[in-house]
């Protein structure tokens, strides 16, 4: 380690620690007692019927911001697939041994349960479409690593994942236009006629479970196709 590395460390570590401590104390001190956070905590169940306040903020009060985040992922997927377009997948990969293939083949059914649970219980428990979708994308990676790209690329192709991602993003937008059709705001939840159900049930929260499902499929297909695009590039270009 050179001397200038040490000097950089000696400068940057205290600066980062001090800035972090300053920001944390500022955030705690300046949070107003009757600001938006207090309003959300008081009214979120009455407004949307969903228990998880974080999900209510993400998909009801601030659903338009979530649409922006989803389009950031869409843009990055489009950029990566444009970079690596046309490269054939590496078909020499055979995957792992027969022992791993057989056991993971059975266990994959169990691995499906966790992401699906996370997505469908997004309005009741921590998690939601994004977390469950990333878990599904990791499942795509697992299938490719274990079974090898020769077998997996027969049905799990990058272009199919792109189509799935675009379709679910379109579904998110369609759900948002229900409010506009009735003269309300974009992505209106309960006021646009979505039934809020009885609080605590799986079928509650109005449009929130449907938006969670759309985001889950979209994130899973998008991040999975990022991995497949990187995998199919030959690295020399």
């Amino acid at each position: 380690m050179k001397l200038r590395h040490l000097a950089g460390l000696a400068l940057s570590v205290p600066t980062a620690l001090g800035l972090g401590a300053l920001l944390l104390s500022e955030a705690v001190v300046t949070s107003p007692p009757d600001g938006p956070a207090a309003h959300y905590l008081r009214n979120s169940i009455a407004d949307s019927g969903a228990i998880n306040v974080v999900t209510t903020v993400l998909l009801d009060y601030r659903a338009f911001d979530t649409l922006g985040e989803a389009s950031v992922i869409l843009a990055s997927v489009a950029a990566i697939s444009a970079l690596f377009a046309g490269a054939a997948p590496d078909r020499s990969e055979q995957g792992l041994s027969i022992l791993v293939k057989t056991s993971v083949g059975y266990l994959t059914a169990v691995f499906w349960i966790f992401p699906i649970y996370i997505v469908f219980h997004g309005h009741l428990s921590p998690g939601g479409g994004f977390q469950g979708g990333v878990s599904l994308a990791v499942l795509v990676i697992l299938v490719y690593v274990v079974f090898g790209s020769r077998r997996a690329s027969a049905w799990l192709t990058s272009s199919r994942l792109h189509v799935t991602e675009s379709a679910s993003a379109f579904g998110f937008l369609l759900l948002g236009t229900v409010g506009i059709a009735q003269g309300l705001a974009f992505l209106t939840n309960a006021a646009a006629g979505f039934p809020t159900g009885s609080t605590g049930n799986l079928l509650s929260g109005g449009v929130i479970p449907l938006l969670n499902l759309a985001i889950g499929i979209k994130v899973a297909a998008g991040l999975g196709s990022i991995y497949l695009d990187i995998l199919s590039s030959d690295g020399s270009r």
């Binding site: 570590v13 994004f130 990333v134 994308a137 990791v138 990676i141 690593v145 991995y227 990187i230 690295g235």
Partner: protein, 80 residues
Amino acid sequence: MTPEVPYYMVLGLVVVCALGAVLIRGYITSIIVLSIFSITVTVSFAFLRAVDVAMAEAVIGAGLMTAVFVTAIGKTRRRS
């Protein structure tokens, strides 16, 4: 032992893992330390009761980014 002590221990581990991920020479070792960093950040988020963020950090940092980094380095390494 006050309840804050385990939290500060986890925060110290976060700093150690972050420095290790930057300073360690080998690519693969650095990636592994980076995923350990994600796990420690996840634990600190769980201490702060931000379970949604902790879940996202766990699946992205430890699951997805590790696979993407390992694949990218395997693709770009010169074959000799």
